[in-house]
């Protein structure tokens, strides 16, 4: 119990120190901070692993605590504005200890066979025996969830009961923070606070979100980190990073390694989230390339590590690993190009072209074997209804998304829209790449992957409130207000 309390506090304090340095303020510091702290821990364990250095759980936890604290202390010593309010801080720490104790007493946890595979890797990390892992275990379960739970081994336990639900809680609060900061210039009605509360309520009443909040798997953590990644892009187009606002580049750079290490598809999803920044108007130049560079470096390092792991085990390197390695290298080269040349040379309709390419690739795959698509479509239709445990949630969210897309115009909304719509052909492609159709049931991989984008989908919905056009006919909008040009929407 003591170990779990100390580990969670280390994630919270270290992450909150980072959040404060990044310009997050007020109640949001611990809320955003916890997600950042876990992400930093994952990134550190990943870096130590890839560098073939020992990564005992205590080392990652200590570095997660002390590194950001040292940075915060240095900034404080320099006289920078990194405030800490003693009484609220003590209150948050006490509340967190209470939540950890409650989570341990309740032991609310969701397991599937995959969960035990994650915990196998956690045990290997804890024992410093990652060499005993099969390459496939590392490729399929990656490192984030094992790194989160490995510290449980310090007290002889198998997993930390509170870290997954606390990360989900952090995700809900991140959504509230993003909405209140992103809509701070929106007069309403409704007020940004009411919109934020409505968004959070919609998320926490979604049955599958609650399932993933207690599920030992990478889906829930990935959803939270992707929300921070996409939300930071949205704040950038909303100009929320101007004087006194959060430092969005650092926020994105912090969560990207954790996203890559959360799931095998994490890097590709992160790429979808980052791409719209390349053509979005008015975002800082470094925001366009730093995230892409961190994504590329992390993917290259991890997939390169897997290549060497497969080779040392005497096996062939799977196509999926090689392909993701090439994507990582491509992202690094892309980031270097954007840094050197800017983005003026990119086609104005890059996002549309990217979606076209994805649909084209999916079309080719479908032409070769239409049965995979037919079976997948049949299963997914059933899953998004009753069989997958979504109830009416997904249908309502999808219906609302189509409605706001058609009836509203919001400048720069493509940063949230693109990952959602591009995910559709990507999901089809993934079915072909894995060689099997999706299947009916809550455990189907696509059915579980859908949660990755649900928080961002809700953010996309509420990001439409400032729209000046609220009519199905686009021509009506022009008489209401002149919209600034913001690229693709």
């Amino acid at each position: 119990m003591i170990v779990e309390v100390l580990v969670v506090l280390a994630f919270l304090i270290g992450g909150s120190a980072l959040a404060a340095v990044y310009g997050v303020r007020g109640w949001a510091v611990p809320a955003v901070g916890f997600a950042l702290g876990v992400a930093v821990h994952v990134g550190l364990v990943g870096a130590l692993t890839v560098a073939s250095l020992p990564s005992p759980p205590w080392l990652g936890v200590m570095l997660t605590l002390l590194g950001p604290l040292a940075w915060w202390g240095w900034r404080w010593h320099q006289g920078d504005d990194v405030p800490v309010a003693p009484i609220p801080t003590l209150g948050v720490l006490a509340a967190t200890v209470g939540l950890v104790l409650a989570a341990r007493a309740a032991n609310l946890v969701n397991f599937t066979p995959d969960s035990f595979r994650y915990l196998t890797t956690a045990g290997l990390l804890n024992g410093g025996r990652l060499d005993d892992a099969s390459p496939f275990l590392l490729e399929s379960r990656v490192l984030a969830v094992p790194a989160m739970h490995a510290p449980a081994g310090l007290s002889g336990e198998l997993y930390l009961r509170s870290v997954t639900p606390l990360l989900a809680l952090s995700g809900v609060l991140v959504l509230v923070w993003l909405v209140t900061v992103g809509l701070r210039t929106f007069d309403g009605p409704p007020s940004p606070t009411l919109i934020a509360v409505a968004a959070a309520a919609l998320l926490v009443t979604t049955n599958r979100f609650v399932f993933h909040a207690f599920y030992i798997n990478g889906h829930g953590p990935l959803a939270t980190w992707l929300l921070i990644l996409g939300g930071a892009s949205w704040l950038a187009v909303r100009r929320a990073d101007e004087v006194g606002g959060p430092q969005l580049t650092l926020l994105q750079a912090t969560v990207l390694p954790a996203i890559v290490l959360a799931r095998p598809d994490g890097g590709v999803l992160a790429g979808l989230v980052l791409l719209p920044l390349l053509t979005a108007d008015g975002v800082p130049a470094r925001l366009r390339w730093v995230g892409l560079g961190v994504l590329g470096l992390t993917m290259t390092a991890w997939q390169g590590f897997l290549v060497s792991f497969y080779r040392s085990a005497g096996g062939d390197v799977p196509f999926s690993v090689t392909a993701l390695l090439l994507v990582g290298i491509g992202a690094v080269l892309g980031a270097l190009s954007v840094r050197r040349l800017g983005t003026a040379w990119l086609p104005r309709r890059s996002l549309g072209l990217t979606e076209l390419v994805l649909w084209g690739a999916a079309g080719v795959a479908i032409a070769f074997d239409p049965q995979v698509l037919l079976d997948s479509a049949r299963a997914t239709v059933q899953n998004t209804g009753w069989e997958g445990g979504w109830g009416v949630s997904l249908l309502m969210l999808a219906g609302l998304a189509v409605a706001v897309l058609m009836a509203t115009d919001v400048p720069g909304r493509a940063v949230l829209r693109f990952p959602l719509t591009a995910f559709v052909p990507l999901a089809i492609l993934l079915a072909y790449l894995r060689g099997n159709a999706y299947r009916v049931g809550p455990g189907d991989s696509l059915n579980r992957m859908l949660i990755h984008l649900v928080p961002m989908l809700i953010l996309f919905l509420v990001a439409s409130f400032p729209s000046e056009r609220w009519t199905w006919r686009r021509s009506d909008a022009s008489s209401a207000v002149a919209m600034p040009s913001q690229g693709e929407s």
């Binding site: 032991n107 609310l108 946890v109 969701n110 397991f111 599937t112 066979p113 035990f116 915990l119 196998t120 890797t121 956690a122 045990g123 290997l124 024992g127 025996r129 005993d132 892992a133 099969s134 275990l137 336990e157 198998l158 997993y159 309403g188 009605p189 409704p190 409505a198 968004a199 919609l202 009443t205 979604t206 049955n207 599958r208 609650v210 399932f211 207690f214 009753w386 445990g389 979504w390 109830g391 009416v392 949630s393 309502m396 969210l397 609302l400 409605a403 706001v404 509203t408 809550p442 455990g443 919905l461 509420v462 409130f465 729209s467 000046e468 609220w470 009506d476 008489s479 209401a480 207000v481």
Partner: protein, 170 residues
């Protein structure tokens, strides 16, 4: 003026739709949990965090894939294990989930006499069916297990505390 009314109306409709969706979600929540089965219900509460009990109370897939390693973790955590080269135990689960010590491969292994089998039977703490290894028997003297000998006899895998074999004179 018309545009302003349209905006207020549209925003009101969107907020109403979000609230309606929230109410529908909440109303639907218990039904989903009832119908989806315990593994995928939104909230599952376990009385313990012990791996043996977690796997025991789970699906047959989990029991067949992980129960053997859970038993090893429970009875012989930290012990070394000798594994015949033809055994189909998963090394990563032995090291990661069962948290055993050194994993040593060997060809062949000791033959079991009738006395050995009687001793093993008397000290059996777990039996089951593993998806990879087939039927298995785990026999230990509780506390202080330092070495487990894995023996494939017929289609059954015996995982035996080395002290039992020494006691039987094998």
């Amino acid at each position: 003026m018309i545009a302003t009314e349209s905006r207020a109306y549209g925003r009101g409709v969107l907020l109403g739709a979000l609230l309606l969706a929230t109410v529908a979600n909440a109303a639907d929540f218990p039904r989903i949990d009832r119908e989806i089965g315990s593994v995928y219900a939104a909230v599952n509460r376990y009385p313990t965090a012990e791996l043996t009990e977690l796997t025991d109370g789970h699906t047959s897939v989990v029991r067949e894939r992980f129960r053997l390693y859970a038993e090893l973790r429970h009875w012989a955590r930290g012990a070394d294990i000798e594994v015949p080269t033809d055994a189909r135990l998963r090394r990563e689960e032995l090291a990661g989930l069962a948290d055993l010590g050194e994993i040593m491969s060997r060809d062949g292994g000791p033959r079991l006499s009738q006395d050995d089998l009687s001793t093993i039977e008397a000290h059996t703490v777990a039996t089951g069916e593993d998806r990879n290894s087939g039927p298995y028997t785990l026999a230990v003297v509780p506390d202080g297990v330092e070495r487990i000998i894995a023996l494939q006899i017929g289609d059954r895998l015996y995982l035996v505390d080395a002290r039992l074999l020494e006691r039987a004179g094998t």
